[in-house]
């Protein structure tokens, strides 16, 4: 079985509220991003995979193991970095990480040794004898990653890993995740609402929206040539122009600074598309001041997926 995670009609309810509506998909090995706006069900899916929440229906398999039948074996092979703060009170960083290692089955000496190693790895080497209570938010994110890594899991669940970090810290964290996924052979599932984070670290993505899968696949494929995007700036009645573009089958998005992003479906050829836009502009009586072909981003994929779902 090659998939890291396989979902079959997974349904999760909180009381009367349905949070996951029969999810079915496979998350391949490597780095997979779990994308979606807040409340889409990303954290719920991770907690269901960990066995914290019993699904109302469906089956979940992690690394080939059935979560319902062997939850402990599943957890032995995964590392979980929760979204909100969490540590064991009254411990130093190294003590805490070593303790987590022991909890995961490592002998005490190995656990301590690996605690030092992973703390160095996540950039907390200097601060490892400080009580976790005194850590800043960024340091807490790192130590959560360290505790998830200490027992060398085959699969890492990272829930909003860059939350509350400064730009530099965020870059470092993303580098760590990318390194783990691409160079250290650790499968990673990153749950985030930050598209650039996922785009930077992951190869695959699953877009969740209101408890349903809106899109899933490799990022390259999703961004693929199903259409072209142009950045357009016009002088004149932008609203009328947008309306005419829509009537002509082209989606239009305002992206600030008077700039519009126009999605032209279908054609691969550059010239006809640009000409089509100019023709619409002419019809709308606006003057095109800027027209440039733009590479599709995950943001476009996301916007499309959420818009379509």
């Amino acid at each position: 079985m090659n998939a890291a995670v396989a979902l079959e009609q997974v349904i999760v309810d909180y009381g009367r509220r349905r949070v996951l509506h029969g999810l079915s998909c496979t998350l391949p090995r490597g780095a997979v991003g779990l994308l979606g706006p807040n409340g889409a069900g990303k954290s719920t899916l991770l907690k269901t995979l960990l066995g914290f929440i019993a699904p109302t229906g469906g089956r979940l398999r992690v690394l080939g193991l059935d979560v319902a039948r062997s939850p402990v074996e599943v957890r032995a092979r995964i590392g979980y970095m929760p979204e909100n703060d969490g540590h064991v009170p009254g411990m130093t960083a190294v003590g805490f990480v070593a303790f987590c290692g022991e909890l995961a089955g490592l002998p005490p000496s190995d656990a301590t040794q690996r605690a030092h190693e992973v703390l160095h790895y996540v950039g907390l080497g200097e601060a490892r004898y400080r009580p976790v209570e005194t850590y800043s938010t960024g340091m807490r994110q790192r130590i959560k990653l360290a505790q998830a890594l200490v027992h060398d899991p085959d699969l890492l669940f990272l829930d909003e890993p860059t939350n509350g970090m400064d730009p530099r810290g965020r870059d470092e964290m993303l580098d760590l995740i990318r390194d783990l996924a691409h160079n250290k052979g650790v499968n990673v599932i990153v749950s985030s609402h930050l598209l650039p984070d996922v785009e930077y670290t992951c190869d695959h993505v699953v877009v969740l929206d209101r408890g349903r899968i809106a899109a899933a696949g490799s990022i390259d494929e999703l961004k693929g040539p199903a259409g072209r995007i142009f950045e357009v700036r016009v002088k004149g009645d932008a609203a009328a122009f947008a309306a005419r573009l829509a009537a002509a089958g082209m989606q239009c998005q305002e992206s600030g600074d008077d700039l519009m992003r126009v999605f032209v479906p279908g054609s691969v050829d550059d010239m006809p598309d640009q000409q089509r836009i100019c023709r619409v502009a002419l019809d709308a009586g606006v003057q095109v001041r800027h027209l440039r072909s733009s590479l599709p981003t995950l943001e476009d994929v996301f916007a499309r997926a959420i818009g379509e779902s």
Binding site: E133, T134, Y135, S136
Partner: protein
Amino acid sequence: MEQATPRPGAGPAGTGVLAASMRVFDLSLGRMLWSRRTIFTALVAGLPVVVALVLRTLLAFEVPVMQGGVTGPVVFGLMFWGFVVRFAIPVLAVFYGTALIADEVEDRTITYLFTRPIPRASVVLGKYLAYLVCATSVLLPAVVLTWLLLAPIDGALAASFPDLGVDLVIVVVGFVAYGALFAAVGTIFDRPLLFGLLFVFGWENLALALPGQLRRASVAHYLQGLVPHAMPADTPLDVLQRAMTGAPGVLECALGLGLVTVVGLLIAARVVSNREYVLEH
């Protein structure tokens, strides 16, 4: 007590301790009253009422529950001793008093209070007043309801009414004295609750049982001296003990409780004014 070094340009100049305390009181009262803590308080205060209701119901069905020379006023007296004086007042005072500042430290909200242009002492005083109002507003009605339910059983409302007046005063005075003491404990110790409970259930019980003057180092000695009801005695030892000790006079009680209150509040205010609070994070 003003803060030692008034900061230049620190908001409205000359904010008095009392005015600031009243502001803190106003802010804290609602928060204190509508917290989960009040559920516990209501449970503690409601228990005598529930017991009284159960007794009344049983008596209404002519179940012979009251035996051994016991009348309604006697049961009320027992409840006042057993529930209110020995338990509810000290425990609620420990619970609220030790948390006045500790809660703010734990919730990391003390920074917001201490960065306001008000003397730190007023934070303690305002929260202490809020505790007083909160605790008495829950316990006093419970005592009154219990009395209304119990006193008419084989007894007279009129005859036990003066005692009720004294009881209500004792509730307030008890909260005042114990609250001040535990406010001080809460500002001094890192784990104030343990010390509070040790004091109430360890030290006070021990001190009251020992002959000599040690019992003067307890709040219960002075508070129990005011209680008009007969104190229940179980064993010959209790009776002998009572024979040896005897209750202090009203003046002594008032002086003792007053001293505890003033000293407790002064210590609490002083410690809070001078201590540096290092928050986690």
